[in-house]
């Protein structure tokens, strides 16, 4: 049962279906490659799994774990779309919604935002928790790119992209706990004083509406955007095909 006998590839079970995997793949990597959606925000197919958002939590052999950092193994029993796990994910999305200042109707990322799409996917009808209302000033200093920290979910993808791909280390995290926040690499604290460019990889990985390219806000009209057309669960990310164009 734990190998695909036709091709002799090891497999695990995901919600009752056999999923083949390659050595070194984590559960989410194998699942996405095989066309099975597992919700995620901080995971990006082109980056090393990080394990912070916990949206990809699944039950592996009865134990809840982050599927992005759990190595695939032959014969694992992985449960994803079960009420208990979907409840957790819904609560996590609600936590992210109250942690920042998310106001979808006025956000130019609406319809292209993975957090919003996940909220729809998981039937989040309200933020549920009392809003935290943090004070997070916007950084509009850069000529081409706007940073609206109000929507940051601290997935660290821009941090990772700027460090690992662009080799610029434009972004980093400071603070801790609920005061944790994104900072940029300049003495003034302004993006304009860094070597950031709109062509950087870091400018194209944000799953929400923090890193926004100026003067492009509504080039695709509301209603015709990626998640307006198809729900996020039907558009599976892979390296080279991600859902984060900004």
């Amino acid at each position: 049962m734990s190998t695909d006998t036709a091709h002799n590839v090891p497999t695990f079970q995901l919600d009752g279906e056999e999923v083949p995997f390659l050595p070194g793949q984590t559960v989410i990597q194998a699942a996405l490659a095989a066309g099975h959606y597992i919700p995620h925000l901080c995971y990006h197919p082109e980056f090393k799994p990080h394990g912070s958002c916990k949206l990809c939590t699944v039950k592996v052999n009865g134990r809840p774990v982050a599927s992005c950092t759990t190595q695939a193994q032959a014969g694992l029993n992985v449960e994803s779309e079960i009420p208990e796990i979907q409840d957790k994910r819904r609560t996590l999305v609600q936590m992210l919604l109250v942690e920042g200042n998310h106001f979808c109707p006025s956000c130019e990322k609406s319809g292209k935002c993975m957090l919003q799409a996940l909220a729809y996917e998981l039937d989040v009808m309200s933020p549920h928790f009392p809003q935290i209302f943090p004070t997070r000033p916007v950084d509009a200093s850069h000529p081409e790119v706007l940073l609206d920290f109000n929507r940051c979910i601290l997935c660290e993808l821009c941090v990772r992209a700027s460090g690992e791909v662009d080799r610029k280390n434009v972004f980093a995290l400071s603070g801790r706990g609920i005061t944790k926040h994104l900072i940029v690499n300049s003495e003034s604290g302004k993006l304009a004083d860094t070597d950031f460019a709109a062509t950087d990889k870091a400018a194209h990985v944000c799953p929400v509406g923090v890193i926004l390219h100026k003067r492009r806000g509504f080039d695709v009209p509301i209603g015709k955007r990626i998640f307006d057309i198809k729900p996020i669960s039907e558009q599976i990310e892979s390296p080279g095909h991600t859902l984060r164009e900004a």
């Binding site: 916990k54 949206l55 809840p64 992210l96 109250v98 280390n169 706990g177 005061t179 944790k180």
Partner: protein, 629 residues
């Protein structure tokens, strides 16, 4: 340490640390000691000196509570805010101090002279209320001492010239057993370890290879000592109770990688669990035993370097510990060819933390040792194979290493005969709260809570918080339970509450602690601990209902199952336990068991009142509305 200008400070400090980025936390701490705070220009200079991105340096500085990127006054007074400090009246004393100094808690005085704020437990629970003044520990605060301190601050007397009695810290050892009563002479455990494999060491030396690389049959000393540790059944004293022998064995068997392959021994002295102070006393009174344990660990796993991670609150112990290390070097108990054994090289350096409870988690501690934000790593791989600098590392608690030294000296069977079947040896408890004789009590494992309570003179006990906020709250009908891995595992905290105490306030204090100390890496803990804190504050303000109680249970389930590390897993324990055992303490605060709006209109006007300087009846909503009626 008032900022008497030391403009060359960053340069000299960078040079002393050889511009090594893994020393970043130490460099930041020392630079702040010299300059008072870490300005953007200072951070930029350090970043250039270490060839690190400025944002990375600023991000590390922003992580630790004791590092500040804004001026916090030439005098910074931090009141330890554990529940035991509260029970001793710290809140009134702090407000008293603020009134004397004309300032608000959390704010710097207009002249930049002083700021007063709270901090997490400083480990002085048996002699509180405690404060840190410019990060030096002060105990036994009284109204008179507050007044005296304010006078010294106003006159700008340097902290180094303050009365010595302010800084006096008692050990308060009330019961000694094998650890605190040991008669080991420095080197005894090492000599015993070496003696186990004495003969073949000559052979190892003669073929000019260190025993580290030789087979166990050639140099059996480390292996035989490891066998004793395994036979002793010693388990980790930090709370989790992992078998020390297995940890050391896994580290010893891991090869390490790259050109800098090496193994490391780390002593976890980041004793941050509120209510715990036994490591402070062990390091004060038994530093030799702890260092000897580290050296034994180095001998067994084949490490040349040991690192002791000392919590920033215990900064005052640094000189004492460095002096002990210097003496041990002079006695050939550290350094090259220890006790004339060729190839037995081991030395210890001390790293200071900077106010981050999460660094007590071993992988977060390693991140901090490497000069990074103290965020727990994804595991596996575990530190025993990929730890400090990605090399095999054994991280052990202070008390574990002290016990290991005794085992190396007296043997595993001797140790195993003490305590219980699954919990060999003794446990050092830090007793505080409502009792006549707070302090340090060492018992063989298996001791009943009732015994400890009788010995410390506790009366009319309502509850005991065993192992701190992340541990278990035990009620008065469970006092025959035992300390040990079979029943109540503990890192050592033992806080006693008598029947006059409000267990809701105890839990609320702990909820603030976890929200303050969450590292913020994972969503459930980062947001959940703050939601919990807000929920407890809402109930305390009289706006809670049964709905909020259910929310706490719901958050408890999520944090326990979805958090990244132990901090999140246990952050709801205080609420969960007290709701199970002391629910009336919550219920009497719920105005209506059904529903109460969370939004307080009158409170929402507080800021407007403050801005307009008004506090008359008409400026309050309820009164204004009553007037109209």
């Amino acid at each position: 340490m008032p900022a008497t200008a030391a403009p060359d400070a960053p340069t000299a400090i960078l040079a002393r640390h050889r511009h090594n980025p893994t020393r970043l936390v130490q460099i930041l701490r020392e630079t702040q000691e010299a300059l008072g705070w870490l300005s953007p220009a200072t951070l930029a200079e350090l970043a250039r000196g270490l060839d690190l991105p400025l944002a990375r340096v600023a991000g590390v500085a922003g992580f630790y509570s004791f590092l500040h990127t804004e001026p916090r006054g030439r005098y910074r007074v931090l009141w330890s805010d554990n529940i035991t400090d509260r029970m001793l009246g710290n809140q009134d004393l702090m407000l008293d101090m603020c009134r004397h100094l004309w300032l608000e808690p959390g704010h710097v005085s207009e002249d930049g002279l002083v700021s007063v704020d709270t901090t997490s437990c400083t480990g002085m629970c048996d002699q509180g209320p405690a404060v840190l003044v410019n990060y030096r520990a002060v105990t036994r605060m009284t109204p008179a001492r507050v007044e005296q301190m304010c006078e010294l601050i106003r006159k700008e007397v340097p902290v180094a010239q303050w009365p010595a009695e302010f800084f006096h810290v008692d050990n308060n050892i009330r019961r000694r057993d094998i650890l605190l009563g040991n008669e080991l002479q420095p080197g005894d455990a090492l000599r015993a370890s070496i003696a186990r494999g004495a003969a073949p060491v000559v052979e190892a030396a003669s073929n000019a290879r260190s025993w580290r690389e030789t087979a166990a049959s050639v140099a059996p000393g480390p292996q035989l000592t490891l066998d004793e540790i395994k036979r002793s059944n010693l388990r980790g004293r930090g709370g989790a109770g992992f078998t020390t022998g297995l940890k050391w064995e896994a580290c010893r068997n891991a090869a390490g990688s790259g050109p800098d392959a090496a193994r490391y021994v780390v002593c976890n002295a980041d004793e941050g669990e509120p209510g715990t102070f036994k490591d402070r006393v062990l390091l004060t009174e038994q530093a030799d035993l702890v260092f000897e344990g580290m050296t034994v660990a180095g001998y067994v796993v084949g490490a040349r370097r040991g690192l002791l991670y000392l919590r920033g609150e215990y900064r005052y112990l640094l000189d004492h510990l460095e002096a002990v290390l210097a003496r041990r070097r002079a006695e050939h108990l550290l350094g090259h060819n220890i006790l004339a054994q060729p190839g037995f090289d081991f030395d210890i350096e001390i790293h200071l933390g900077a106010g981050a409870y999460v660094c007590g988690e071993e992988s977060a501690l390693i991140e901090s040792l490497e000069g990074k934000r103290g965020v727990p790593r994804n595991r596996p791989p575990f530190p025993v194979t990929h730890g400090y600098l990605n090399q095999p590392t054994t991280v052990n608690n202070v008390e574990t290493l002290a016990s290991a030294a005794l085992i190396a000296w007296k043997g595993g069977d001797w140790f195993r005969a003490i305590g219980t079947e699954k919990s060999a040896g003794t446990k050092v408890l830090s007793v505080s709260g409502d009792c006549e004789r707070p302090g340090i009590y060492e018992y063989p494992f298996g001791v009943r809570l009732s015994q400890v309570l009788a010995d410390c003179g506790a009366k009319d006990v309502q509850a005991v918080q065993v192992s701190g906020p992340s541990g278990v709250c035990v009620s008065s009908d469970e006092l025959e339970r035992r300390i040990g891995f079979e029943d109540l595992a503990t890192a050592g905290a033992f806080m006693v509450f008598d029947s006059s105490r409000d267990m809701f306030e105890v839990a609320r204090n702990f909820s603030h602690f976890f929200a303050h100390e969450s590292c913020g890496f994972c969503t459930p803990c980062r947001v959940g601990t703050t939601l919990l804190k807000n929920c407890m504050d809402k109930i305390a303000a009289g706006h809670g209902s049964e709905y909020d109680i259910n929310e706490i249970f719901k958050l408890n389930h999520l944090l326990q199952t979805a958090s990244h590390c132990g901090l999140g897993h246990t952050a709801c324990n205080p609420m969960f336990d007290t709701l199970q055992k002391f629910k009336p303490a919550y219920e009497r605060r719920l105005k209506s068991l059904a529903f109460e709006p969370a939004f307080d209109l009158d409170h929402a006007l507080a800021q407007a009142r403050q801005m307009t300087g008004r506090d008359d009846a008409a400026a309050h909503l309820a009164t204004a509305m009553e007037d109209k009626q």
